[in-house]
């Protein structure tokens, strides 16, 4: 009896192992599929572009997923923070360009100007985030319906305010001199700014991981995701933490917007809307509240978008919706979400 039970347990164990391995093989192998119809050099270029896009998506989506996981708030105004960040970067670069730092300048000046952009975007995102949380989001805790409605309205208002302050038309964003042009590694052409974007995205991921796993604030936030009442019972002011987390998410989205605008070189007031869709897809695929899942999902979405956009441009968004649908069918709580 005992031995049969053990062997049965062992076989389920090995079956689970096999399943996990098969999952990994399929999960990694599927990204090599495009090689069947794309040649290697192009594939590598697209892969770098996809990773870049993934990193930039991560900046926006990670804030969304933490806000959703901790506060249970669906924030459809997240894309608007993104757009505000983009316009902040645009303004800062325009101002610095008058000093001759942007279009003509040394590597140091380029780096500093990007840094100033990012810091100011973080600040703008933070302030807007605190304001929105105080004025609007507070009144909607516990009701998803109200949250969706109200944040849609807020997103509309924020996009319209951009159109009033900066004008309703597309604008061209300057790229710092040191990051224009591209590197050529064995025929694989890599734009310099992509490398910077990958660095920034990776750094933010590591920083978030560190803060969430190794600091007291991280423990409180993770605890809040698991069980909000318990954290409150332990004497932490969850309301204040909510405000900070919301503002931090908004700041991250604004930073993502700045990077994105320098990357794509164009901005318009309603740019947040399309980016929000990507962020939502990423969050659903990754699992709500999981930063690592969000990171993996961002890469998936970025890569899939670039491969398909190269082959069949019109279906680029469609393939991500399909990935989302398939993931939802297989794992309704997302890659790393709790069921």
């Amino acid at each position: 009896m005992n031995s049969t039970a053990q062997s049965a347990a062992a076989s389920t164990q090995s079956a689970a192992d096999l399943k996990r391995w098969a999952g990994w093989v399929v999960g990694v192998g599927i990204w090599l599929l495009p090689l069947l119809w794309i040649n290697l050099t192009t594939y590598l270029v697209l892969t770098v572009a996809g990773v870049t896009m993934g990193m930039l998506l991560f900046l926006t989506a990670s804030g969304f997923t933490i806000i959703l996981g901790l506060m249970d708030v669906i924030n459809l105004a997240h894309g608007a923070f993104f757009a505000w960040g983009a316009y902040t970067g645009f303004t800062v670069l325009g101002a610095l360009n008058k000093l001759g730092w942007v279009e003509t300048g040394t590597l140091g000046q380029s780096l500093v100007s990007v840094l100033i952009c990012l810091l100011l975007a973080l600040a703008v995102g933070w302030v807007l985030g605190v304001l929105l949380e105080w004025l609007v989001i507070r009144r909607t805790y516990g009701s998803h319906l109200k949250q969706i409605l109200i944040t849609m309205g807020a997103a509309l208002v924020m996009a319209e305010v951009i159109a009033i302050l900066w004008g309703p038309n597309d604008e061209v964003v300057l790229t710092p001199a040191a990051f224009t042009g591209s590197l050529d590694l064995w025929d694989v052409v890599i734009e310099k700014f992509r490398l910077l974007a990958i660095l920034v995205g990776g750094a933010v991921f590591l920083a978030m991981h560190y803060v969430l796993q190794r600091t007291k604030l991280g423990i409180i936030v993770r605890g809040g995701v698991e069980n909000r009442e318990m954290v409150q019972a332990l004497g932490h002011n969850i309301r204040r933490i909510f405000t900070y987390v919301f503002a931090a998410g908004a700041a991250l989205a604004a930073m993502g917007g700045t990077m994105w605008s320098i990357y794509t070189r164009e901005i318009r007031p309603d740019m947040g809307e399309s980016n929000l869709i990507f962020a939502l897809i990423v969050v659903v695929i990754g699992g709500m509240g999981s930063v690592t899942g969000c990171f993996l999902a961002s890469l998936m979405v970025g890569l899939a978008f670039n491969y398909v956009a190269y082959s069949v441009p019109t279906l680029a968004l469609g393939v991500n919706i399909m990935i989302m649908a398939v993931i939802l069918l297989l794992r309704p709580s997302g890659l790393m979400g709790r069921s």
Binding site: K146, I148, L156, V157, I281, P332
Partner: protein, 369 residues
């Protein structure tokens, strides 16, 4: 006689009470007056602009009511309703555009195509995401709507992209046709189209009202209020949700056909974009969720404001031409709708009709005491 057969159950009692007050309800008379006013509108006001707004109010009222069926009655939060509207509008426009010359059978064919597409797409959406958490359904429908919008812009050989499709209607409905005067009014294609829109909109609206009041409609409401309880009572809630989803989508796509019929032009911006979805939401919230009649009030409010507010703001621009920021403030009238939207959701969540009903119910309760 009534005393000899007392009502057996609370539901029967309620129905008897409703039936007794059937012809004295204020609502009924409001409906009749509204219908008569809309029917006589071409004779009452001889302005094309008023007629245009009236027709659009009818179309959007039905569209918003069909959305109310989802959000207000079933608790399904879909953001793809504008997509179904767009599907319907494009089916009529593309059939006529690609056929070359407009023919009569194109109209029923478009209605059929619109219905078929709506059923198909809404079923797929429902099966993929209706079982999951509400958030997933929102995301799925939002992404799908965005995808449809992009497709309608980029699939240039089919939809002519951002330029949109303008087309002519067959025979009597053509703008060029004129059939003489009737009681001082020229009978032309526009007028006939107006009555087609009026008849179809009234029919669809009555259909929605009947659906909501039917046993199936009661089940939908119970799902909205407490899904677990509805399941425990033995209803297959998933099937009912699918039914509501499909029915709402079909009505929305038929509204799209009507819109295309009236405007004779279809483009991504005017039928597919997120702006339309926001408009639907705004109309619903202002009118009141879960009231169905609120959609008429909401649609009328927004469309009338849109039509005449833009004029007022243009006047501001003419009088104060110097201030750039003020110019833009006047240009971006959507901003005010956004602010209004947020304020209504916070302070006035029941909407106009919902609040009016609440006040009326309170007064009735006081009278009874």
């Amino acid at each position: 006689m009534a005393d000899q057969h007392p009502p057996q159950t609370p539901v029967q009692a309620q129905r008897a009470q409703e039936a007794a007050g059937r012809y004295t309800r204020a609502g009924l008379w409001l409906q009749v007056i509204l219908l008569v006013l809309l029917a006589l509108e071409p004779w009452l006001v001889s302005s094309f602009r008023v007629m245009d707004v009236a027709a659009k109010v009818m179309i959007f009222a039905v569209l918003v009511a069909s959305y109310d069926l989802l959000l207000g009655y079933t608790g399904i939060f879909s953001l793809a309703h504008a997509m179904f509207f767009g599907l319907g509008a494009y089916s009529l426009a593309l059939i006529i555009h690609h056929a070359g010359a407009p023919l009569w059978y194109h109209l029923p064919l478009a209605a059929l195509l619109a219905t078929g597409l709506a059923v198909l797409v809404s079923l797929v959406v429902a099966f993929f995401s209706l079982r999951l958490k509400a958030l997933f359904f929102v995301v799925m429908t939002l992404a799908l709507a965005q995808f449809a919008d992009i497709l309608s812009i980029q699939w240039h050989s089919l939809t002519r992209g951002e330029d949109g499709v303008s087309f002519k209607l067959p025979g009597l409905l053509d703008v060029g046709w004129s059939g003489g005067k009737l009681w001082g009014l020229t009978v032309n294609g526009r007028l006939l189209t107006y009555y087609i829109v009026l008849a179809a909109a009234a029919l669809l609206f009555v259909g929605l009202v009947r659906f909501v009041r039917s046993p199936a409609g009661r089940v939908l409401k119970s799902i909205r209020d407490n899904e677990q309880r509805a399941t425990a009572l033995g209803y297959k809630t998933f099937n009912y949700q699918i039914l509501a989803n499909v029915f709402g989508a079909v009505v929305a796509s038929l509204c799209g056909v009507l819109y295309a019929l009236w405007v004779r032009f279809v483009g991504p911006e005017s039928v597919m974009s997120t702006a339309i979805m926001l408009n639907i939401l705004l109309m619903l919230i202002i009118g009141g969720m879960g009231t169905l009649y609120g959609s008429i009030v909401g649609a009328a409010f927004i469309l009338v404001a849109e039509s005449w507010l833009a004029d007022g703001l243009r006047a501001v621009k003419v009088f104060l031409p110097d201030l750039m920021v003020l110019q833009r403030l006047a240009d971006r009238w959507i901003l005010y709708f956004g602010v209004l939207f947020v304020l209504v959701v916070i302070f006035f969540p029941k909407g106009l009709v919902g609040s009016a009903r609440e006040i009326a119910a309170r007064r009735r309760a006081r009278v009874r005491e």
